[in-house]
């Protein structure tokens, strides 16, 4: 599904923030992406989401070499990826329902064709009674679940989550992790970026560890790192 080979990334003339990064993400897999702050987790996620192009190396996404893609091809490819942010990125003037249905709306799909699907998903993430509510009224956990539902609504093959539990309390973080694990079990590949070791200890998933711009890997069942 995703293959990185000797990928390097630098911003402008600055130092390389990612160095010789090589890994792959298989269909229906679950992995944590971890490392200290400033290690390059967000940069790696942006490469995965095609918001950045590598300075060197090969990035292959769903069988496409991303270096030769046009912007409209990138937009289409991006629809196969769901993205969840720590700061939610919800539109405050749209209701929970409208925020979640946004990816389908921008694909030009008529509203009646997805209404039941969106409402079903909102019930699944526990927001069935918050359908008509605007984001400023939602709690942090509700906002994050809305953002997750929005990332899932177009049935992405790959879900990227950048510190999705960073703004919620530990019980809610565990609940959100269960949501991601359930997603993985239903067939979606998940990359969950976090520096919360406690959270990672709750699920025996593959760990991609970034340090000083280099990536190390820890397979499930392997020795744990703190």
């Amino acid at each position: 599904m995703v293959r990185f080979e000797n990928v390097g990334l630098r911003y402008g003339m600055g130092p390389e923030v990612l160095k010789d990064v090589s890994f792959d993400i298989k269909p229906n897999s679950f992995q944590f992406l971890t490392g200290p702050s400033g290690a390059g987790k967000t940069s790696l996620l942006r490469l995965l989401f095609l918001s950045l192009r590598p300075t060197r190396g090969l990035v292959n996404l769903f069988g496409y070499d991303v270096s030769g893609l046009r912007s409209d091809e990138v937009a289409v490819l991006r629809r196969r990826i769901g993205l969840v942010f720590q700061d939610f990125r919800l539109l405050d003037h749209l209701t929970t329902y409208e925020n979640v249905s946004l990816p389908l709306r921008v694909q030009g799909r008529p509203e009646p064709t997805y209404r039941s699907h969106v409402i079903e998903l909102l019930h699944w993430v526990g927001l069935g009674d918050r359908i008509h509510v605007l984001p400023p009224v939602l709690s942090g956990g509700e906002k994050q679940r809305t953002a997750i539902a929005r990332a899932l609504i177009a049935r992405p093959e790959l879900l990227l989550a950048d510190e999705p539990t960073g703004n919620v309390d530990p019980p809610l973080a565990r609940r959100l992790l269960r949501l991601f694990v359930e997603l993985h079990k239903s067939g979606t590949s998940v990359v969950l970026a976090t520096h919360d070791a406690g959270l990672m200890d709750q699920y025996d998933g593959r760990r991609l560890i970034l340090a000083d711009g280099r990536l190390h890997e820890q397979r499930p069942g392997g020795p744990k790192r703190n």
Binding site: L52, L91, T95, Y97, G128, I131
Partner: protein, 311 residues
């Protein structure tokens, strides 16, 4: 997925809200800027149109009038000479009418220089004949001048050529200055509307980012913003343009409104000049269209630049 187990009942949802919110502080501020700038630009368009129309009208009036002067000559009957001059003029092709000004009218012309209350009958004043020319047929002034010199004693023809040439030069300068001013105002309008639009789009940067992240094509994002800001441009432009047009309509109606008021006739002479013709109103509509177009294009370009910055 587990979520298929208990299918919830369908909820009633409101019609989808616009992706770019309509009633925001930045939208209202932009609308106000557009309305004000359109109003100012439309006023200038109307004013330049009025000046140009009036200047053309003065020039045409001047070109369609001649004056025959008949000087009193001892031993000749002045009234008879005036009658002959009128006959000569009326026989000339292209002359609509020729009318001798009365002694009193001639006196009124001299009042600014000689003062009122003088008995002009004791002065050997030349008499004037006002000749009106057709707007279509070109009169043969050389032939008229020759006929007058041959048939009327003491007659001379003044075609106002010197005065007309000076007026033409002045009017050309006035019209040129008007169009230069119009160009400056339109440039200022385009720039201010363009920058205000960029500011308003920048205030919505988070929306551009979210749309980008949920997989919207760049063209769709740009078109969404362009439609929204075009509507704002049309709305603001119509408010400003309509206000300016209303002002000119009121200006055109003032003469009839002032007609029954003492002294209204004098004022009507001035206000009557504010009646805008069809071209003037078309010019105002053009400004509205230009402003809406600038708003739309500026928003599209700003969104495109924002998207480039995001990637």
């Amino acid at each position: 997925m587990a979520r298929n187990k208990n299918k919830p009942e369908l909820a009633v949802v409101r019609p989808a809200a616009p992706i770019v919110p309509r009633d925001t502080v930045t939208s209202r501020a932009l609308l106000t800027v557009i309305a004000i700038m359109t109003f100012v630009a439309a006023l200038i368009v109307g004013a330049v149109s009025l000046v140009r129309d009036n200047v053309i009208s003065w020039r045409n009036d001047m070109a369609r009038e001649l004056t025959i002067q008949v000087r009193p000559i001892d031993g000749r009957d002045l009234a008879g000479e005036i009658g002959k001059a009128i006959d000569v003029a009326r026989r000339t092709v292209g002359v609509i009418d020729a009318r001798a000004m009365t002694r009193d009218e001639t006196g009124q012309l001299l009042e600014p220089w000689l003062g009122a209350g003088l008995d002009f009958s004791v002065l050997p004043l030349p008499r004037l004949i006002a000749v009106r020319l057709s707007a279509t047929a070109e009169p043969d002034l050389t032939a008229l001048r020759q006929a007058l010199s041959e048939q009327v004693a003491g007659a001379s023809l003044d075609d106002h050529r010197t005065w007309s040439a000076r007026l033409a030069a002045v009017s050309d300068v006035i019209v040129f200055a008007g169009f230069a001013l119009l160009g400056l105002v339109i440039t200022a309008t385009v720039l201010s509307v363009s920058f205000a639009t960029r500011g308003a789009v920048s205030a919505n940067r988070s929306i551009v980012e979210v749309l980008h992240l949920v997989g919207a094509r760049d063209d769709l994002i740009a078109s969404t913003f362009q439609r929204h800001f075009f509507a704002v441009g049309v709305q603001g432009g119509l408010v400003g343009g309509a206000a300016a047009a209303l002002l000119f309509v009121l200006g055109a109606l003032l003469p009839s409104l002032l007609a029954g008021i003492p002294g209204g006739g004098q004022a009507a002479l001035l206000t009557g000049q504010f009646a805008l013709d069809r071209e003037g109103y078309v010019g105002i509509a053009g400004i509205v269209a230009l402003v809406a177009l600038v708003t739309a294009v500026a928003s599209r370009l700003t969104v495109r630049r924002t998207l480039r910055e995001i990637d």
